[in-house]
């Protein structure tokens, strides 16, 4: 009996229990996230996506880097790895190649994945490493107190841009698309149903998959820039988001409090790194090569 079916049966008996509780390390709650922060909402969506995915949770591993979102690994009741700053993707690469049976998810923040970890993102996408990367983008370094990030739009104040940011930000879906990701979408934490659905869809796909999740940081980013609290930011997401599935990723960069294009932008098939390796060596070496990480027929 699958674990998700177990869960559904359990829920049928106890209607009052929060359905995501079994996914959390309840002995680690309360979490460190601030009131109004969107990371927890994204994790809630992820747990629901796991339920709907029907995956064997013993075969799902989560890898985080450092930062507020980097704490996600520590709260999920999965095999979970809290690695070093920026290095979640290469750790996940080793984990996936070490045991291809695992479904490996990287869950980390924009600074971790795209500043210190940028190079790893590009190369894992180029190789089509079979991992799902979920990036919670709050436009700032939350854990260290609100410094400028590679995603900070031009304009807002950050502690290391005290007079307002003048650097151009990255357009994350455009990078993922250009580097070869097989699945690219962006949602905000207002779009909980769409986000959970996108996560489920991405969990069911192969290759390097990327989801950007826009999320408020009320304590640092919003407060310093007089954007109100978490609810005000979610209202902004609601009012300024436009769903454009299939939009050209080069056109969907984010400006300061401007229009937010959300949706699924890329969904394509490419052989994964491991499939390419196995195909290539089988072709070149013939019978001398046994495909790696592939279960024999019938198992």
């Amino acid at each position: 009996m699958s674990e998700s079916l177990d869960l559904r049966l359990a829920l049928a008996e106890t209607e009052l229990e929060n359905p995501v509780l079994p996914y959390l390390r309840q002995d680690r709650i309360p979490h460190i996230w601030c009131p109004g922060c969107g990371i927890g909402t994204s994790v809630n969506c992820f747990c629901r996506a796991l339920t709907d995915s029907g995956l064997d949770l013993n075969k799902v591993a989560i890898v985080s880097g450092i930062g507020c979102t980097g704490r996600t690994a520590g709260y999920l009741n999965l095999d979970s790895f809290h690695t070093t700053h920026g290095r979640a993707i290469p750790f996940a690469t080793g984990l996936k190649l070490g045991n291809p049976e695992l479904n490996v998810v990287v869950y980390s923040g924009d600074g971790d994945l795209f500043a210190i970890g940028g190079n790893h993102f590009f190369h894992a996408a180029r190789r089509n490493m079979d991992i799902l990367v979920i990036c919670v983008n709050n436009f700032t370094y939350g854990m260290t107190g609100g410094q400028v990030a590679p995603t900070t739009p031009v304009g807002p104040t950050q502690t290391t841009m005290p007079l307002g940011n003048f650097e151009s930000p990255f357009n994350l879906p455009f990078i993922a698309d250009a580097c070869g990701a097989t699945y690219v979408s962006r949602w905000t934490v207002y779009h909980v149903r769409q986000l959970a659905k996108a996560m489920k869809e991405a969990l069911g796909k192969k290759g390097f998959r990327f989801i950007e999740v826009m999320s408020p940081c009320p304590t640092l980013y919003s407060r310093r820039n007089r954007l109100g609290d978490g609810v005000d930011q979610v209202k902004y997401y609601k009012e300024s988001s436009v769903i454009k599935n299939g939009a050209d990723t080069k056109d969907i960069g984010l400006g300061f409090q401007g229009e937010i294009v959300v949706g699924k932008f890329v969904d394509r098939e490419r052989p994964t790194w491991l499939e390419s390796m196995n195909d290539h060596f089988s072709h070149v070496l013939g019978d001398q090569f046994t495909p790696y990480g592939v279960k024999p027929e019938g198992e």
Binding site: R25, D27, R28, N58, K59, A61, V63, A73, G74, N77, L78, D79, S80, F81, H82, T83, T84, G86, R87, I89, P90, F91, A92, T93, G94, L95, K96, L97, G98, N99, E101, L102, N119, H120, F122, H123, W273, M277, F281, L285, Q288, F289, T290, Y292
Partner: protein, 386 residues
């Protein structure tokens, strides 16, 4: 347990230290390497990339040494034995993940084919100048084990020992080669697989729910291990953690964890003693050396003995942990130690620390790029014997 014959290229070979080191890793059961090319270590990963498709396993060339040194650790938590291969500049980048491996008790072997430094230094020429970097280069307090081969045969033999020690102690174990040993071609005898002893991972027999990832006893400071995918739902973090592996950033947990990480090695310094001694019993002077320098030192020692001097030859096979007690015992009997090394005086500091000023300790430094002239060492032996 015995080695898996699939990885053992039994027979007599005429190969260099880099190639022999790779064969040692394959014989030891290494089936996953994430590498990044750097002179003079590259041949190790090149050979691994060529050999692994038929042995069964994975090689991936990563985008940099930061990625390589953490990808291998992902491989460990997936259940593999792994190695990390580099030289000076790459080693500097890897310091971050040396700390992660020490803190998370991830068994892995680190190969440093030493070249002249600092910075890019002498890419194609030898040195032994990373001896202190591996001991102190990552921030915080940690312990490692380091072995120093002086021949291609030892690159093979000590590589297997390095893998076995990394499993026994769950810590990073270094194979400290140098450019000369790496590129020196000699006879290498690879025994049949059933003659190679392999230490298996310290897998737990506990069930999920009973198992605590970092639980130890007062007798055994090395925790039992599991891998991802087996239902244990482990949490691994570089933060200070409790027995469950959960972040626990407070004074009591730090005070419990850090001494254990150090003492699991330090309490076993005697078991980790691995030296070669020749003529030390009645020596007036002892020459302590390691790696390639030990071969030059041996020539100098023989020349000194021909002059009638009583000179002992002490070679470190395991450099870290440093054999403090042995040096202290020898200091009771000798007039002086002479310590040649291909750096400006690193391991000599450990000798000085151990003898506490009781006898003379003469450093024979060398900035690297080539090996010592035996005469340079001989002069210092004569000076020491005076």
């Amino acid at each position: 347990m015995k080695a898996d014959p699939k990885g053992v290229l039994s027979g007599v070979h005429f190969i260099d230290g880099d190639h022999a080191a790779c064969e040692g890793a394959l014989a030891a059961g290494c089936r996953f390497v994430a590498g990044y090319p750097i002179t003079p270590s590259t041949e190790i990963v090149e050979r691994f990339a060529a050999r692994i498709p038929k042995v069964g396993g994975v090689f991936i060339q990563m985008e940099d040494e930061l990625a390589a040194s953490i990808a291998i650790q992902g491989g460990v938590w997936a259940g593999h034995k792994v190695m990390n291969v580099t030289s000076g500049p790459g080693l500097s980048l890897m310091m971050e993940h040396l700390g992660y491996a020490a803190m998370t008790e991830t068994p892995c072997v680190w190969v440093d084919v030493q070249r002249g430094g600092p910075s890019t230094g002498l890419p194609t020429l030898p040195a032994q100048a990373d001896m202190m970097q591996i001991k102190w280069g990552s921030h915080g307090d940690y312990e490692i084990i380091a072995l120093s081969p002086n021949s291609p045969q030892e690159c093979f033999d000590l590589m297997i020992k390095a893998f076995n020690l990394s499993e026994e102690y769950r810590c990073p174990v270094f194979l400290m080669m140098d450019e000369v040993v790496g590129h020196m071609t000699e006879r290498v005898n690879i025994p049949p697989a059933d003659q190679i002893e392999i230490t298996d991972r310290k897998w737990t027999t506990k069930k999920p729910g009973e198992y605590k990832a970092y639980a130890t006893t007062s007798e055994d400071l090395v925790p039992e291990m599991v891998k991802a995918g087996d239902g244990y739902r482990i949490h691994v973090t570089g933060l200070t953690h409790d027995e469950r592996g959960y972040p626990a950033m407070d004074v009591p947990n730090q005070a419990k964890l850090i001494p254990r990480l150090l003492n699991k090695i330090r309490n076993n310094t005697e078991q980790l003693l691995d030296v070669r001694m020749d003529g030390c019993d009645d020596a007036d002077v002892i020459v302590m050396s390691f790696g390639i320098t030990s071969r030059v030192a041996t020539a100098a020692i023989e020349a000194a003995r021909a002059k009638g001097l009583k000179v002992g030859n002490l070679r470190l096979i395991i450099c870290w942990p440093f054999p403090v007690k042995l040096i202290q015992q020898l200091a009771e009997k000798v007039k002086a130690f002479v310590v040649p090394e291909l750096n400006m005086g690193q391991m000599v500091l450990e000798v000085r620390k151990a003898v506490e000023g009781k006898v003379k300790v003469i450093s024979v430094p060398h900035p690297g790029g080539t090996v010592h002239e035996p005469e340079t060492i001989l002069e210092q032996i004569i000076e020491a014997a005076r």
